[in-house]
Symmetry: C2
Subunit: 209 residues, 2 copies
């Protein structure tokens, strides 16, 4: 490896470390946490953080992009699960757990993710993978016929909102119980007609078909 | 009716009008809305609002108490529905719609409701009624056997969180679609084992049995 390459690899690692540290700090202490805290967690100087991310907005945008990339990776893995139902189940659990885990970032992500033109290709890819997962499970007869990819995202958002729970001291994994109810509701066995009949396809750039 | 009685009835009506107006204004514009706006909506002078509710906290507490009373009334009606499943369904739809309708107040309500010792009897009554509804539906074989009253509240909170939707322009009643999935998940037909097995009973003052 040449010196230039090594430097670039080093810079990329540093950047990833800052993003991961910031995601943790924001999740624990909200978006008001300081750059000093982020730098400390990442084990770099504050100046390094500012050089790479001049404003907190830049840092948040980078976290959102990273989380969206991770979501696409997870969706791709789940869409390739040998058992199609297991794929749906795994996707729902993993994504809900992440949503619960970093509420502050998730809310920022939700707003920014939808607004950013730059993230449109990743967003589209994520929805495509969700649709793929859904159709595959429907073909196998293990998922109700009247849901589509974006429904998974809304249901994850719903269950992922159950934190903090309104009763202090309740066990933190209670959301799993409610995701269990949702997953049973997604099975074909007890499916009754849903109203409204479908999420609005155009508005969320849903691929046709 | 004596003059004193008429005056008291008049005062009670005024009070109820201010609470209803404040609930509307806060729902539309958030808890930061001014007392002047509340007074205008209620058609009373600002001084009247301040005389009855010296601080905004007093006003919010009164709204929360009123909403909890309304919830208890709804629960009692639903628990008395001739068709036990219809009772569950109606309770879930009506409560979720209210949660969606006034998000700002709902969040304040959730915090205050749980913390207030004064509201404990109403809270307990609401949970009792939920448990009654659930047991009745289970005895009729129309509700999965492994859920309890508080589960209804958590599921309402989850679906009720879907506003504002992350995609601008989506139809506002999309939550009904997801409540439909949840309700299908509550039916006995496709029920699989839920983990964790139960919400924490003690912490939410759940009646025994």
């Amino acid at each position: 490896m040449e010196a230039g390459q090594a430097l670039r690899a080093d810079a990329a690692r540093n950047r990833a470390r800052i993003i991961a540290a910031a995601a943790q700090v924001f999740a624990e202490r909200g978006l008001d946490a300081s750059t000093a805290e982020v730098a400390e967690r990442a084990g770099v100087g504050e100046a390094t953080v500012f050089r790479r991310f001049p404003t907190k907005e830049d840092l948040i945008a980078a976290i959102v992009a990273t989380k969206l990339e991770e979501a696409v990776e997870t969706a791709a893995e789940c869409a390739a699960e040998p058992d199609p139902w297991r794929g749906i189940e795994r996707f729902m659990y993993e994504m809900t757990e992440r949503t619960i885990g970093d509420r502050a970032v998730s809310e920022a992500a939700r707003d920014r993710c939808m607004a950013s033109a730059e993230l449109a290709p990743l967003r589209r890819r994520l929805i495509e993978l969700c649709c793929e997962m859904v159709k595959r499970a429907q073909r196998a007869g293990v998922l109700r016929a009247d849901v589509s990819g974006p429904d998974l995202a809304f249901l994850i958002a719903a269950v992922g909102s159950l934190d903090p729970l309104p009763f202090p001291g309740l066990r933190g994994d209670l959301w799993r119980r409610y995701l269990g109810v949702v997953l049973d509701g997604l099975r074909p066995e007890g499916a009754t007609k849903l109203r409204p009949g479908a999420p609005a396809r155009r508005l969320i750039e849903l691929p046709e078909g």
